[in-house]
């Protein structure tokens, strides 16, 4: 037993002797080639990612119509903070995130655990679960918009009619619109999460289940004491990813309701869009970028705090 090799010990890799760094050796060691390969990527990232980010930070301190710009200091930030719709948008985004957490977070975990227990047709179930992810999001939303038709002939209303429930207004109601959005979003995103959890379940050592079984644990105790603790690293990452995604929810409110009825589904990102593009005479790009910068800072802070807090508990 004592002779078993330690698999975690770092392998002995021959270390190349460090040469003196000068342009000639840099070129001879392939530095130029590496740079040439990286250049297109650096160029594309600069043009389409880094420059726009820098430009939007600059624009948040400007009043601009994209032709002429003037510096206005923190005016845009003040205007955003004074906008009564900001509170509504934050509350709506929070409500969406909460509903998505309650409805959308446990479902994929439960589904993945159940699916991992299935002995036959696992591939079929995985494919079925993943199918909504393959459907383009815009198509999915338009499809669900038809399902949510508020007339008695609507798909969901017809189904509800079979069990004696009167027609519901769904997207046309101030109270039902947001839950309706979350249900679609959960359906659309669950597949991806299920696949990740299924993969995570594979790495749980089967001996742990055997040991738990020997100790007399039932299925729920096995899930609670073996599966979930083993998956916590993945679960924590998925949680923060979901919080980040729901804080930036845009597609569903934009396509389903346009933020209505009566701002009931206006989220922060939709508000940013409205600042920039709703006004028919060119939008307030300064306010839009100011709110974007604030949201980005908030999310960065949130991620940092989250990882600090969970670092101790996580296995990863």
């Amino acid at each position: 037993m004592a002779t078993q090799p330690d698999v975690d010990a770092p392998r002995q890799v021959p270390v190349r002797e460090r040469r003196a760094s000068n342009p000639v050796t840099w070129v001879r060691s392939g530095g130029l080639t590496k740079l040439l390969f990286a250049l297109p990527l650096i160029f594309v990232f600069t043009i389409f990612s880094w420059l726009p980010i820098a430009r939007s930070v600059i624009m948040s301190f400007q009043k601009t119509n994209l032709i002429t710009s003037q510096w206005v200091g923190l005016d845009n930030f003040v205007a955003v903070l004074r906008d009564p719709l900001l509170g509504t948008a934050i509350a709506n985004t929070g409500y969406f995130a909460l509903l998505a957490l309650v409805m959308g977070f446990p479902i994929p975990i439960i589904m993945a655990v159940l699916m991992s227990e299935v002995r036959r047709g696992k591939g079929l179930y995985s494919a079925l679960a993943y199918l909504p992810v393959v459907i383009p999001p815009v198509v999915a939303v338009l499809l669900w918009k038809v399902f949510y038709d508020a007339s008695p002939q609507g798909v969901f209303n017809t189904l509800l009619g079979y069990v004696g429930i009167p027609p519901q207004p769904f997207l046309q109601s101030q109270t039902q619109a947001m839950p309706a959005l979350v249900i679609e979003a959960t359906w659309a995103a669950a597949g991806g999460s299920i696949i990740i959890y299924l993969a995570a379940l594979l790495i749980v050592p089967p001996e742990l289940y055997d040991a738990a079984e020997v100790d007399g644990a039932g299925i729920w105790r096995k899930i609670w004491h073996v599966t979930l603790p083993q998956m916590r690293g993945v679960i924590f990452v998925m949680l923060i990813l979901q919080v980040l995604a729901t804080a930036q929810v845009f597609l569903e409110p934009y396509l389903f309701t346009g933020g209505g009825p009566v701002h009931a589904t206006t989220t922060i990102l939709l508000l940013i869009y409205n600042y920039a593009f709703k006004n028919s005479l060119g939008g307030n790009y300064g306010m839009a970028t100011a709110l974007s910068v604030m949201l980005a800072i908030f999310l960065a802070l949130l991620s940092w705090v989250y990882f600090r807090l969970t670092n101790r508990w996580s296995t990863s």
């Binding site: 001879r28 392939g30 130029l32 080639t33 040439l36 390969f37 250049l39 297109p40 160029f43 119509n65 994209l66 032709i67 038709d149 508020a150 007339s151 609507g154 027609p167 207004p169 997207l171 046309q172 109601s173 101030q174 309701t257 346009g258 209505g260 009825p261 009566v262 701002h263 920039a276 593009f277 709703k278 006004n279 028919s280 005479l281 060119g282 939008g283």
Partner: protein, 463 residues
């Protein structure tokens, strides 16, 4: 060394391909941005707006015929049609990026702000040279006149608000499609009959994307109210909480909640309400009198189902909200292109309004391509000239004029009222949620909603 050389070669090829791609992109942009840059001789390239995305092939066929006619008459000008739809968000970007057509159209509501921003070309002298500066309806010309007294565009089409109705649904509900409602009470009663007998929406109204505010303003005016007062000194006073707007919202509330004849869609805008109406799901709705063309061309409506009448008038000093659009020139083009642009506007938009030959040529081209000819509009010049032009093109008129008679017989009895001028679209956007609140909350407090909207709108104007 050999392997490094091969890697370098591959990297070089990759880089060259990338550079080629970028060069291709930038040269394309260059062509778009600078007319005549491809070295096509002395011809002036003129990029003109054609149709919004989604227009059918027949519309483009008709345009190709007109483009050739113009180029034959003006061999030094090369007209390039550009797909175009007026949307504010893209306008500033297109203007900044140089991809805006040289000639395009904007709605009356936005012209004033654009010219004040210096985003439109001054055409005062050109209009004088063409000899019809004094022929325009002065109220309409005022919309394109700056505070400096200069003119910044050619008003080319105007419309009044109309009540559009589905003749089939009227018949199915036991109503006479030749006697559409003439009062708001009759609209409500007919809507109820349609909803009860057919299960369709008896009456619907737009509520999102600023159209809710637009149509609330229209029904306000029809109820004798005004949402804004022009103080004449560049300032405006909001009067959204006026009895006309209250009556208009109360009507909506009653149709929705008392009669249950509004249907189940409270999130319609110009496009989707047209779609629903063309599909036979809506009995009546209000929109511009020129919407017939779009209903048939873009939304596939059966002309036999279509009916149009005037919007009922109520209260003191009621009117019909008018609107329209203006042909304008990009402020960034050079003098030669500007001269070509003015020629195009005169030929394509204006001459058919005042010249028999031009009117007949235009009507024939549209009719041959199966496009609507004769859709009722409001004259941008004089009423006499408009009626005369209709006699010129009479053989080509292909819209069901009989079904529009309730409108054409009575529209001249109504007072046209212009859209509010101060921050028009922004205030329309503020009114959208008011309309939505009434349609989605049975206990919505109309007075409170209007008072809030009024103070919000006034704050916008005072900024």
């Amino acid at each position: 060394m050999r392997s490094i050389g091969r890697k370098t070669a591959i990297a070089g090829v990759t880089l060259a391909a990338g550079a080629l791609l970028l060069t291709a992109c930038s040269s394309d942009d260059g062509n778009n941005a600078s007319p005549g840059a491809d070295g096509s001789g002395k011809k002036v390239e003129l990029r003109v707006a054609t149709f919004p995305p989604g227009a059918d092939k027949a519309a483009y066929d008709a345009f190709a015929v007109q483009e050739k006619q113009f180029e034959d008459a003006n061999p030094d000008i090369d007209v390039i049609g550009v797909e175009y739809e007026w949307t504010g968000p893209t306008f500033a970007v297109q203007l900044a990026g140089g991809s805006l057509p040289d000639v395009f159209t904007v709605p009356f509501t936005d012209t004033k702000t654009l010219l004040e921003n210096g985003q439109l070309m001054d055409v005062t002298q050109e209009m004088k040279d063409l000899g019809y500066a004094d022929k325009f309806n002065p109220i309409i010309l005022d919309g394109v006149t700056g505070t400096d007294g200069n003119v910044y565009g050619f008003p080319r089409q105007a419309y009044a608000m109309a009540l559009h109705y589905n003749r089939n649904l009227f018949e199915q509900a036991g109503l006479d499609p030749n006697s559409p409602p003439t009062t708001w009470d009759e609209v409500r009663a007919d809507a109820k009959a349609i909803a009860e007998k057919t299960g369709k929406a008896g009456y619907a109204q737009m509520a999102i994307n600023n159209t809710g505010g637009w149509q609330l303003t229209a029904t306000t005016v029809a109820h004798g109210g005004r949402t804004q007062i022009d103080n004449g000194d560049g300032t405006y006073t909001e009067t959204i909480n006026n009895p006309g707007t209250k009556a208009a919202l109360q009507f909506l509330h009653d149709v929705r909640w008392e009669d249950n004849s509004f249907g189940s869609k409270f999130d319609l805008d110009w496009g989707t309400i047209n779609q629903e109406f063309a599909a036979g799901n809506i009995g009546m709705y209000t929109s511009g009198s020129d919407v017939y063309t779009a209903l048939v061309r873009d939304f596939g409506m059966d002309p036999a189902q279509y009916g149009m009448t005037v919007v009922p008038m109520d209260g003191e000093d009621p009117g019909t909200l008018g609107g329209g659009d203006v042909a304008v020139i990009s402020p960034t083009i050079d003098d030669a292109t500007k001269a070509a642009a003015v020629k195009w506007i005169d030929w394509y938009y204006m001459q058919k309004l005042m010249n028999e030959d031009a009117a007949v040529t235009d009507a024939k081209a549209l009719s041959d391509a199966g496009q609507a000819v004769g859709t009722p509009v409001l004259p941008v010049l004089s009423k006499d000239l408009y009626e005369q032009s209709l006699t010129w093109i009479a053989p080509y008129i292909n819209v069901p004029l009989d079904q529009m008679k309730p409108f054409t017989d009575h529209i001249w009895e109504q007072t046209p009222v212009g859209e509010p001028k101060g921050k028009t679209q922004e205030i329309y956007a503020l009114l959208d949620p008011v309309v939505q609140a009434v349609l989605t909350d049975q206990n919505a407090d109309i007075d409170a909603l209007l008072n809030q909207a009024n103070s919000d709108a006034q704050a916008l104007l005072d900024q």
